[in-house]
Symmetry: C2
Subunit: 337 residues, 2 copies
DNA sequence: CGCGTTGATGTAACCGGTTACATCCGGCTC
DNA sequence: GAGCCGGATGTAACCGGTTACATCAACGCG
């Protein structure tokens, strides 16, 4: 691994000149530049990122803070993979690397400091936060410390922070109007965990559309789940016990919708003849499970690319963080309605 | 961001002593150690990883090489997320970070060098390779360069390399014996793309079990897919045209199995009454799609933790890489058989 | 008492880059 | 011809750690 001094020596110039060839080629003369490039290629020189980071305090790495909630180890939003793919390739295109941070392990350390310290130790340029909605103090510490960060599916804001979310309310509204158009008058919904924002927003949109259509939404027709399959199953069982029974249900997440469908089938009812179902997310299963789940699509790739762009504008020294992005949601109609 | 010299000055010791407090606490006296730790906490000192890496040439980062095949952008094995979760948490537990490497973007660079250069620039300690089986020369270059690496689902070997695979042959065998036990005598299979190793191994195991049972496997009862859903659908259509029709089919991947099930349903046949189906992988859909897909489970978490362990033993300076690991496969019986 | 040993600490070189500032030189203007 | 300008390059300090080696005091021992 030859160093910059080696290249300088071999080509008979100073280290500063070699450095310039790679960082500001325009200021060095044509001849010298080519000479240096030739010897660099010859000896297989490549700049050492650590040294570079040490000197410039820019690491060209974006930190990924993810899965911070120990109570739910291995949290996996079904989107995660799609988002990650998009994020990674958008960053790669700009020469940025993605560092999945392990929280700082120092014993006896205040938990809130763990991510912040990992970020600072590595001189990470910016941070992307994918969290399950819990307002983890370790994550909040990042905001306070003025680290440029962009949060996904989470309404973080701050002088150095922005966020990307789906149009959850719009999606809830889409679901409601679709069901109303199909002639349903008695709707119910399975929401996400109440404290989380996506859950609240989807419900609000859904409710608004009903109100506008002059339809009621009884308290008993709103049941909370936790976004996972089993909770959808359980919630649906409660809804099936209602009298009169709702003729359509909107589940604020596809996993819960699938659970609900299972409960409906087990009760000997047909979808959509007896009960129509609309989900939210459009995960892979939605298209595969018969009769096909009508659902509100989130733009997973959009999350990734928008996050990458937001990070990059912040890195390029924008005085204020870019405005939050709201990604449009659309309805995909399948057999369940 | 206070530096080590700041801490040294404030506590009236030399920088070497401060460094020792963090790297070799046992050699510094109890009193000094506590003094230094106190001032460090007071001024919020944290060691700069870049400086440290520069000096020691160990970065405490493991590189992740993934999705190297441009012809299939966003390659996503359904396991990826599970593996990644396990890998990341196993590494985190040992204070290692995971760097998702972007290939070196230098224009005019030999493609084979792109990953190797990214690895070397960042002084990454080791590399985990998750690839789709194509023997990408950019990945092979890592092996040649003696970077410690562990490949997943890929039989890479070398003086500094090891790999983790599932017991594919055993899994194929499991599928076959299960179907035979269920009374089937005319079996067919949808394989993965022939050049890939998992495809070949699963087929071999399947075939062996048939041979041992004295059952034939006609060439026309072996159809190749590409591990994705549509190929399973198309392959199944060809199998349905056979006369006599096979009564059971083993798809070497769940996505293909789901595609096959779709083709079977569309042909007006019932599963498992008319045709039984066994898959491989045990992805989420397998349990959700009616009547439930019997499938061979791979140990996704095992991939992640085994990879982490292999990397760590190599980092701890083992002379030879750990022996390749083969993860056991098991059969999960559901409604499709 | 002199000497080797051991434990705690300090000194300073080194890792491999970046960059502010200085220097040099040829060409232009007046 | 003096003075100025600007482009190309060199010098050297600096980023923040690690570590080989030196130093020194205290101790045990013959």
């Amino acid at each position: 691994m030859s160093s910059i001094r080696e290249v300088a020596r071999r080509s008979g110039v100073s280290v500063a000149t070699v450095s310039r060839v790679f960082n500001a080629p325009e200021v060095v003369s044509q001849r010298t530049r080519q000479l240096v490039l030739a010897t660099a290629a010859e000896v297989g020189y490549l700049p050492n990122e650590s040294a570079r980071t040490l000197a410039t305090k820019k690491s060209h790495m974006v930190g990924l803070v993810w899965d911070t909630d120990h109570r739910r180890p291995g949290w996996r939003h079904p989107f995660f993979q799609d988002i990650l793919v998009a994020l990674k390739s958008a960053l790669s295109a700009h020469g940025l690397h993605l560092l999945m941070l392990a929280p700082d392990q120092t014993p006896g350390l205040d938990d809130r400091q763990r991510f912040l310290r990992a970020v600072q130790r590595h001189s990470v340029d910016g941070v992307v936060i994918i969290d399950n909605g819990s307002r983890d103090p370790a994550v909040l510490a990042l905001v306070d410390a003025a680290v440029p960060c962009v949060a996904l599916d989470l309404r973080f804001t701050g002088p150095t922070c922005t966020h990307i979310t789906s149009d959850n309310a719009g999606g809830g509204r889409l679901a409601a109007t679709h069901l109303i158009e199909r002639g349903h008058r008695h709707l119910a919904t399975i929401t996400g965990p109440p404290p989380t924002l996506p859950a609240a927003e989807r419900l609000a949109g859904f409710r608004d559309a009903l109100t506008e259509a002059g339809l009621p939404l009884a308290d008993d027709d709103v049941v909370a789940g936790d976004f996972y399959l089993d909770s959808g199953y359980a919630a649906m069982q409660r809804l099936l016990a209602r009298d009169p029974r709702p003729t359509a249900v909107f589940a604020a997440g596809d996993e819960m919708a699938v659970g609900a469908m299972k409960a409906i089938h087990e009760a000997g009812l047909r979808i959509p003849a007896d009960i129509a179902v609309v989900g939210f997310d459009d995960i892979e299963v939605a298209a595969l499970i018969p009769p096909g789940l009508t659902t509100v699509t989130q733009d997973k790739t959009g999350f990734g690319t928008a996050a990458a762009e937001a990070v990059m504008t912040m890195l390029h020294g924008a005085a204020t963080p870019p405005a939050p992005t709201t990604l449009p949601t659309t309805l995909v109609v399948r057999g369940s309605t």
